[in-house]
Subunit: 207 residues, 2 copies
């Protein structure tokens, strides 16, 4: 892209860093850098601080593993939410997607990934034991598995189902409104919202 | 976009700041934020520092007004470049675009905008006096006007032509390989390169 230099090491290293963002190439990174150059110094300081503070300050909720500014996240602390229903998701992105649909009023459990032997992710790398522990406490009546409808997602759902089906709870999965093989993260809000409202009992024989 | 909260004020403010980047909405900003959250702390520190350092450290070249880490930019300081040829551009983005074509070996003069009564930009807001001063020193043999082929660009070219045509220099403009009404910044490198190689004498009666 830059056959000759950018006439500034400072600019070049800012462009380098900005192009590390997902989906951002050198040309977009340069646009970002030049845009930031045109902003008042205070704004750029605030921009950088917000990012550093986020990275350094964020913790994980001790209950559901969602990102949080405090020990327990605002969702787990919210007394208006249905504590008998827990939605199991792969990542914090999925919690945000589901929250945006406005269709779900229970709590969450963020696994931090899905079982994927190809990527070297085994059940022990995920927050599955914490989930079993939560379920064993008896307050939960339904575990709603909202993982991507990919091979890895289905495998993880089945694995968790086997671990928690011994408890007196219902296990549901996201309705197949989400196209097979799609990543949950890219589903539109309407489809995702419908598939939450129409969630169905998990039947392992359908595997 | 975010109908409910992101469960974290720190995340929300980082997303807010990232969505201030040009062309970036809340959804992309969230992807960036979550990506940064997954990086090691050192990397995120380096990311933020590169941006702040760029904003605080960058200066403008005292000769050509290009961004620079020092008093005179690397292009103006480069003895291998043709000091009798000066390319007049609107912005530092244009210098980078032209440098990338590899077709130009002279110096630059960055105006910092173009004459645009609609946006309240008059000749006095631009580095036109500096250009006239540079031309009056006698070393420059050709001034190559490489402004966008828009109404404002043509007006600025004509205005500058009137100011410098009293000196014994040639005034050229970018060849019309660049489609009429296009912004220089979006031209592909081949088209831009050709139009630099085929640059033509400026004839004010073609206006």
């Amino acid at each position: 892209m830059f056959k000759r230099n950018l006439s500034s090491v400072l600019l070049a290293s800012a462009v380098e860093e900005l192009s590390s963002l997902p989906g951002i190439g050198k040309k977009s990174a340069l646009r970002f850098a030049l845009h930031l150059l045109e902003q008042p110094t205070e704004n750029v300081e605030r921009f950088s601080k917000a990012i550093t503070n986020m990275r350094n300050g964020l913790r994980h909720c001790s209950v559901c593993n969602m990102i949080s500014d405090s020990e327990t996240c605002p969702i787990c602390s919210d007394s208006r939410r249905d504590r008998s229903l827990v939605c199991v998701v792969e990542s914090i992105r999925d919690v945000i997607s589901i929250e945006n649909t406005g269709e779900f009023n229970g709590l969450y459990h963020v696994l931090g990934g899905i079982i994927s032997p190809m990527d070297g992710i085994s059940p022990s790398n995920l927050k599955i034991d914490n989930l079993v522990e939560r379920v064993s406490q008896g307050q939960i009546k339904e575990v709603f598995m909202a993982l991507s409808t990919t091979m890895e997602g289905e495998t993880t759902t089945y694995y968790i189902y086997k671990k928690i089906s011994k408890f007196p709870i219902a296990v549901s999965t996201i309705a197949r409104g989400v196209g097979f093989g799609d990543n949950l993260e890219y589903a539109d809000e309407l489809t995702l919202g419908r598939s939450i409202a129409n969630r169905q009992p998990f039947k392992p024989e359908n595997q």
